[in-house]
């Protein structure tokens, strides 16, 4: 069973009871993700790619099927255990950056450390280290709104890296950025992948997807093709 994969999906279904018939967002997905791989998940809207990402991010549980992360069966875990998993092993990067506007950049980056129970002075120095890594070491007192989109996404990446996660989940990370900045963000992600992070990225842009090693095409809740 265990073939070294960090994530294993086995006939995973996700059903939303909506309207009269409900929606089959995932209709049987079987796939292994190897550690250190870089995946782009593509597909039209409604193809189930966001649902897949939410499942992989342990924000949701499958209706049926087996989903294990690092060997743990997710469907057996309660809300607290899922939170703990996200806190220790996962990092999120969103299309709209999702920084907390009333907090400084440093505080945003420190947030995962706060929940991990770090002392204030430790987390401040770690935040500085991470901010320097994404090239924003001199802006830590600023508010997110004082930054450009590209800079905000760098901060978001720094935050996602704060807990030194095994897996980075990116939901259209360049969706709100211009081409040049998108390129910068993608090279940052590629660099992180080379350093050993597993990255799973949802996108609908072909040239963004080309940065990944594998591309997964979804349609109507099932895997259409893998390239």
């Amino acid at each position: 069973m265990n073939n070294g994969a960090i994530i294993q999906l086995e006939d995973v279904h996700k059903f939303y009871p909506m309207g009269r018939q409900g929606v089959h967002a995932l209709a049987g997905v079987t796939l292994d993700f190897q550690p250190g791989s870089f995946w782009a998940v593509m597909g039209a809207s409604g193809s189930g790619k966001s649902t897949l990402l939410n499942l992989l991010g342990c924000l949701d549980r499958p209706t049926s099927g087996r989903f294990s992360l690092g060997g743990k069966d997710i469907s057996l875990l309660d809300d607290d255990e899922l939170s703990e998993l996200r806190l220790r092993h996962l990092g999120f990067i969103f299309q709209s950056f999702n920084l907390i506007p009333q907090m400084s950049l440093s505080e945003n980056i420190e947030l995962p450390l706060y929940y991990q129970g770090y002392h204030a002075h430790e987390s401040v120095s770690r935040a500085l280290e991470l901010a320097e890594r994404v090239g924003l070491g001199d802006r830590l007192d600023h508010r997110p709104t004082e930054l450009s989109g590209g800079q905000q996404q760098r901060v978001a990446i720094a935050r996602a890296l704060a807990n030194d996660p095994d897996i980075l989940l990116a939901d259209e990370p360049t969706g709100n950025l211009d081409t040049e900045t998108s390129g910068q963000i993608m090279s940052l992600l590629t660099e992180l992948n080379q350093q050993g992070k597993t990255i799973i990225m949802v996108t609908h842009e072909r040239d963004i997807a080309n940065h990944a090693k594998h591309r997964l095409h979804m349609r109507d809740g099932i895997i259409d093709s893998i390239e």
Binding site: L59, D79, D80, R86, F92, L99, I100, L111, H119
Partner: protein, 420 residues
């Protein structure tokens, strides 16, 4: 652990500081509630303390009868007679002493205001004609010399006992026993000096600092029964036999029955109510009454304010949760557990309500002061009421913050993240 709580409180304060006015307005209900609670307790406490103090000073087993000019006298009698005759009689004292059970002793008092002088020095004193029993009742320590005794009464001796203040003014700091002072037009030998009080007694005690005591019989002989005094601009003659009769009763339990018996007896001999009966013990009951009334009024205000204040806080926190749905989603995605979200919002509400409690504490301490200044009512703020106020405000925060906090924590992270 403590450090973590302090850190969380700091974060909470920081978040609330983003909306200073909103936060301040939200706390108003708690402010009023808490200040009412403190004021209520202060007034109640003040009333019963005053009563207890008075009982402590007067004794719980005495009854004070005082002569009082009846109301109708002013209008009706003045035309027919220049002299108003009213008040307690010598016979009243005898009758009480002889016919009312449980009475240990009675002390008659005649009171006059007279100028006393020694050489160039003079002061107005309250001259009290009384019996040696007086000193047993009042128990003011003797500073020098002796008290009045039976022989003084029998001999109609022109002797007097001064209080410290009078002695200091008239004898000019020499506690000289044996000096003669003039009271009115008569000369009295100072045979004793009583200790002054600490000034806290006020009108609550039977005796005052500016008293001079002379034997009852001497008072009658020297000054007579008529008292000429200037009232509302006109000269007025009053005939009063006794100004006060102080009755000491066997035990505290019997005081109220005896007071009733005395009242019934006096009613038979006095067609008009020209006397007043005061039972210090009854003051305690009155104080309880005051306390109860205030508790009902202020308790209702406090209850309603706290309820409304709590609902106000809950309302704002619900709005805040909606406003910060996305933030909650982000925190959850990062790995915050539900109870950590609950903790975050709960701390914010508790900080908010505690702030209200603190402001309420300040205002609440001010209200009793104003009541005392304006209405002359005694108030007393007990430390326990402050502890209670803080407890109430923290509980309000927890009770009314719990629902919004739980709602925040129960949000589905995915939906919360998508929230605009």
């Amino acid at each position: 652990m403590v450090l973590k709580v302090i850190r969380n409180i700091r974060i909470g304060i920081k978040t609330l500081m983003l909306h200073k006015l909103r936060s301040l307005l939200t706390t108003l209900g708690v402010v009023f509630g808490v200040s009412s609670v403190i004021a209520m307790l202060a007034v109640g406490e003040g009333a019963s303390r005053e009563a207890l103090e008075r009982i402590r000073k007067l004794g719980s087993n005495i009854i004070i009868l005082s002569s009082e000019k009846p109301m109708e006298d002013d209008a009706a009698t003045r035309e027919t007679s220049l002299m108003s005759i009213y008040g307690l009689l010598y016979d009243d004292e005898l009758r009480i002493k002889e016919s009312i059970p449980y009475v240990i002793r009675t002390v008659p008092v005649r009171t006059m205001r007279k100028e006393a002088r020694l050489g160039q020095r003079s002061m107005e004193l309250r001259v009290m004609g009384t019996t040696p029993d007086w000193f047993d009742l009042v128990k003011r320590p003797l500073l020098a010399g002796r008290l009045l005794n039976i022989q003084d009464m029998e001999r109609l001796a022109p002797v007097c006992v001064l209080t410290e203040r009078g002695a200091r003014r008239l004898l000019a700091t020499q506690n000289t026993i044996g000096e003669y002072i003039r009271i009115g037009s008569d000369s009295f030998e100072v045979v004793g000096i009583l200790e002054g009080d600490d000034g806290t007694g006020g009108t609550q005690r039977l005796d005052r600092d500016g008293d001079v005591y002379i034997p009852m019989n001497t008072a009658l002989q020297r000054f007579g029964e008529r008292i000429l005094q200037r009232a509302t601009g006109a000269l007025e003659l009053e005939l009063v036999e006794l100004h006060q009769i102080i009755v000491e009763v066997e035990s505290t339990e019997k005081v109220e029955i005896v007071a009733e018996a005395i009242h019934a007896m006096l009613q038979r001999f006095h067609p008009r109510e020209d006397y007043r009966i005061e039972v210090p013990l009854a003051l305690l009951r009155q104080a309880e009454e005051t306390r109860r009334t205030f508790n009902i009024v202020l308790g209702s205000i406090a209850g309603i304010s706290l309820l409304v204040g709590g609902i106000g806080i809950m309302n704002i926190m619900l709005a805040s949760v909606t406003e910060r749905t996305r933030e909650i989603g982000i925190r959850r995605a990062i790995g915050a557990k539900q109870r950590q979200i609950i903790g975050q919002f709960l701390i914010e509400t508790v900080v908010l309500s505690s702030l209200g409690g603190l402001i309420g504490l300040g205002i609440g301490a001010l209200i009793p002061w104003i009541i005392t200044q304006a209405a002359g009512m005694p108030t007393y703020i007990t430390p326990y009421s402050l502890v209670l106020a803080v407890g109430i405000s923290v509980s309000i925060g927890v009770i009314f913050g719990l629902y919004p906090a739980v709602r925040a924590a129960r949000l589905d992270p995915i939906t919360a993240l998508r929230h605009e």
